[in-house]
């Protein structure tokens, strides 16, 4: 048995972490992330629900910004990582293209920033209203972590190495 080559190991890890992030992603955006209680009124919203609400209220710009940078781009990044780690099925040229795309997407995917925004909100508003984090927060944090791990584990050299 030959010792596994480095990039193959890295691919395995990237795939594992990226798929984990992919599994957590729906939970992170669909489940309620914030529960607000104000004057006896109880309100909870998920990320996707919040975006839909923004659209309804006519805040198209904010809605599109959040939709693109917090949902579409992170999702694309995760999918690209999964694709890249599945090297054996891809053409080399395609691989290189996907990698560059992933690099660009990664810069604009703001999931981690959103987490920060949530924390700021918690600290700022905790005096005014009662705040609870919903179950999606767990999924969200894990999802961010897993996609980071996937990005770190990814060894770009593998792209130019023939399998």
């Amino acid at each position: 048995m030959d010792i596994p080559r480095n990039h193959e190991r890295s691919q395995g890890r990237t795939a594992a972490a990226a798929i984990a992030a992919g599994l957590l992603f729906p939970a992170a955006i669909l489940l309620p992330i914030l529960e607000v209680e104000q004057l006896g009124h109880h309100h909870q919203s998920s990320i996707l629900g919040g975006i839909i609400e923004l659209f309804r209220n006519g805040n198209y710009f904010v809605a599109i910004v959040i939709l693109v940078f917090s949902i579409l781009l992170p999702l694309a990044k995760i999918l690209a990582l999964i694709e890249l780690s599945w090297l054996c099925t891809l053409q080399q040229r395609h691989r290189a293209w996907t990698y560059r795309l992933m690099e660009q997407i990664g810069k604009w995917s703001m999931m981690d920033v959103m987490l920060l925004a949530l924390l700021v909100m918690l600290i700022k508003l905790s005096g005014l209203v009662q705040f609870h984090f919903g179950p999606a927060v767990v999924a969200f944090v894990l999802c961010v972590t897993m996609s980071m791990i996937a990005a770190i584990c990814f060894d770009p050299h593998a792209i130019w190495e023939s399998p």
Partner: protein, 501 residues
Amino acid sequence: MNEPDTSPDPNAEAIPVPNAEAIPVALLQTNPTMTRWFASRLWWLTLVCGLVSLGLFWYSRQNTGSLITIAFREGHGLKPEDRLTYRGIEIGAVEKIELNPDRDGVVAHVRLTPRARSMAADGAKFWIVRPMLSIDAIRGLDTLLGAKYIAIDPPSVGARAQSHFVGLDSAPIISPVDGSLEISLDAKSRGGLENGAPILFRGFRIGNVVQVGLAMDARTVRARCAIDPEYRDIIRNNSKFWNRSGWRLEFGLSGLKLDADTLAQMLSGGIEMATPSEPAPGVSTGHRFLLYDKPEAEWLAWQPSMAHGQAWSRLAPKMPQPIRLALRWQERSFGFRTNQQRSSWCLPLSDGSVLCLAEQIDAPKSALADSTRIEFAGVSLSPTQFQVSNSTSEASQDSSVDKAGRFTTSEPIADDVVRWPVDRVAGKLPDAVCDVLIAHADSSSVVAIDAGRLKKTPMGWEIDDQVLVDRDYHGLPVFSSEASQVIGFVFVNKQKRMIVR
């Protein structure tokens, strides 16, 4: 760009890499690349993350109640975030409210709390609570300042789940409690009666009007009433009902007289009732009474003694069941043999003996020899067929009043005779008077006597004149609900009504 394969992985410390031996080579792949691809231990983390994701979805499903829609004709200012309340607590909230497609009503989307999920079932009634100020009712004052809310009349347990409901325009008719006695009252006119008006007995609420409406033939106004389960024994066949709605203003020589009981009654009206001092048997659901405009003076004087209440309802099946007993003998008067008889009640006991008044087993001296017989439960006993076994120490007590006697017989008695446990018979009257019930074969004739109506005398307890105990009660066993024992017998003669032992 191509790095040698043996170069150390920059993340080797962060993520442990399994050595070659630990690789599950048995994985189905023949392709060694794929095998290595799956070698990473990080796959465990993937599995865990997948489970966490599923778990969160499941948890979230458990914690979000079901969404129901309720169609109303009017919104009455209901807003999103308004509550759905039941028994004063929030069990759901309006998520949104919108016009229905036909524009002839509104649809409220309500999210129930997880615990209240079972509320969304067939038979649930919803209505919007709003302030109501009218001549006869003041309701929902809390919604005058605060938010409107939706109230619910819950479905029966085990009803089929539902998610679309049609809301009511106003609060529904109060559904009677299980076990209530439902009767209908016919009146000539409505006379200020409202749904929910109280039915009063001596000014005490025993039930309420469920619904007032015209009778089928429109000849009378019919009020459907529900009597609370604990008071159903108060309603008898010969009870009288009259309307005491509102207030009566009388202007006469003596001046102005305003007749009103309470403000609430003045506003919502009420029905008063009375049962005669000789209560007839009880009625069952569906019985119809006449509703009079005003009471007759006599009705107000009635003072029946009736066992009632939850304690009594529980007790009723456990009451002693007395049966009739007759003592027959023959006497010679003016040279003729005449038949004489003395009848009263007796109580068969579980040890085979029979408890009754002593006079019932003791024929007078004038009786002809061998003519005495005791008859009860379908048997006729001659003096040789029964043995008197008087357990009470007769000698120590005053002999001017008859005491309880006890006899045993070897003759077979019918099986359907209910026998009273012998250990629940007291040896003597308690030292202090207590509340008692006079057991009767017919449970509607059971008389309850308050301790205050009894007076202790050396011979026994004298019963107050106010309590109706007629001649027929002579010999009935007296039961103390407190001690749950038979403590003595009723003794009635022309002068006295007593409880003796």
